[in-house]
Symmetry: C2
Amino acid sequence: MSQGFPESEFQTRTTAAQARMGEAGLAAILLTTEPEIRYFTGYLTRFWESPSRPWFLIVPASGKPVAVIPSIGAALMGKTWVDDIRTWSAPEPADDGVTLLAAALRELAAEGKVGLPSGAESHLRMPLTDFERVKAAAGMEFTDDRGIVATLRMVKSAAEIEKISAICAIAGRAFGRVGEIAREGVPLTQVFRDFQRLLLEEGADWVPYLSGGADQDGYGDVISPASHAPLRTGDVMMLDTGAVLDGYFCDYDRNFAISQASDAAKKGHARLIEATHAGLEAARVGARASDVWKAMADIVGGGEGVGRMGHGLGMQLTEGLSLTSKDHTILQAGMVITLEPGVGTGAETMMVHEENIVIEASGPRLLSPLATAELPVI
Amino acid sequence: MSQGFPESEFQTRTTAAQARMGEAGLAAILLTTEPEIRYFTGYLTRFWESPSRPWFLIVPASGKPVAVIPSIGAALMGKTWVDDIRTWSAPEPADDGVTLLAAALRELAAEGKVGLPSGAESHLRMPLTDFERVKAAAGMEFTDDRGIVATLRMVKSAAEIEKISAICAIAGRAFGRVGEIAREGVPLTQVFRDFQRLLLEEGADWVPYLSGGADQDGYGDVISPASHAPLRTGDVMMLDTGAVLDGYFCDYDRNFAISQASDAAKKGHARLIEATHAGLEAARVGARASDVWKAMADIVGGGEGVGRMGHGLGMQLTEGLSLTSKDHTILQAGMVITLEPGVGTGAETMMVHEENIVIEASGPRLLSPLATAELPVI
């Protein structure tokens, strides 16, 4: 698989955005976050880890996007399809791109409206004080982007799906080797380090996300850092990873019983796999996110109080729709989502299972290697 | 080293913020980002990788901070010193914490002003539409936080410095093993994977940041992803990592010559080490960030056009001051910074060197193992 995408990919995305901008009466869309800027340019760097510099991309009503970025990024942005790259030497305390951005917006969007992603999962990656300065300097109307960017990103191209599929396969090979690193007596902190190592050995570029838990019959929490406590016989250990290849995530988990599996854990796991199959059955073009949620909730129980049981996936660990009772997004071919049912296995323990799928016209296709109903013992 | 901090650490941070809030006339500070919320609570999770849910922390004029967070985080937040934890089931499309947050702000800050971090390096991690709803529902005055949070975070406690020192030592051991993974013929992509593996083997919790480059006499860019091209004899390879232990970063690099070092590379490296020593000499309590920058710039040349040559370091890869000609922040004991001079080694190549230090009353103390003037050949 080659790095990045052909220019046609970005042309298609930009043209699609511009068609919707025209309908919505937006003269430009202003982007400030990593996935949004990368979506329209292919600009891929881990340098976003530094909060010190703001980055801007303007999608005008027609033509290629225009980058307004710190000069340290000019060489890399110059390798993308973007031609118009305007830079300043950041960080610049007195004017950190404010004047340059305002002038570019005025030039490109004239008297029109500027749309900013403003809905669920979005944020503005620049200081609030500078945002107010940009608005004042540009003297234009700023509004939300009508959800255009988020909506476009929800449906993946074949080339995007290929990347997600590749990282899912890498994670599958790493999960297949968990027996090498986890056993009674090993602390979960060590398992976390070693599992990230396995992901890298199997070909991941990096591992932005790893969570998990381990306790008797299940675990109490799926977002805490790993504990230094050693694994014990009868623990159920879960590892959930968001590893990345060429800027695209997998996000799925696996459960393992340490040395032996309790009845509660075996039953919990079988129930989760049953729910996953029900989710798969429901995940058809035209179904709503809430329908897929209900198919799984009917099996794991809990009713409306049960939280989300899956979500979209792609350039971010979670993005787009949520499988909840309240998200009625219609599934379309090309959407990549996770199925993530959870089930209580004791008064203070639960188990969670997760798979990654792509919605196709003929039905869902598994990107992660579907787990069997039998809880693996290692 | 134990995980996390004793409660006294958070009490001290909160009391210090509240003293400054009193002087500034702020009735509360509202926080939305990972490092800011962790600074006042110790709430540490990689779950922030998901953008789907907003998280809020209110620092009131007195007493402990109050968390307004998705219910999925309640158990973990319950392990911190925070007592007042208000939750909702997120994501909730109709009201994703807006009403709950507005009510908490009204209750805790009455008719007073709410400060938000709004200056350099800050951003608001919530949808803009919801921010407008919170402002309308709370009916209070929102303003910047007078830089209180950023200013406090710039000076590290002994316990914070211990964590940064520990991750610097881990990275030092990994850099010491680069000869195991890099040689002529190995692609830089593979070196990147293997170096992350070495960092994990040596004890890093995870590796949020790795950049680098490799080319004859130097490299053209320090933020691009690794290339698939194999290393060649005479390449200068640089690896720059931000690895994390217990939520604290190191951020430094090392240069290596592959098989043999050219004169240009040797001279460049020696110049960088000379500049680093000059930076060390200048990095004293009472000096300005710009003084340290100038000490290094005088050796590597380039004048005002030379970009930043170091920055603060801690819970984020880069935070706080910048070593530039325009940042006149006064160095204080307890500040942890990087010294990061760069030098041109050819028409399109450069080299960059970086070390991590803590400013102490008696002078700077190295946290990374200071490189020698001789460019290592592997």
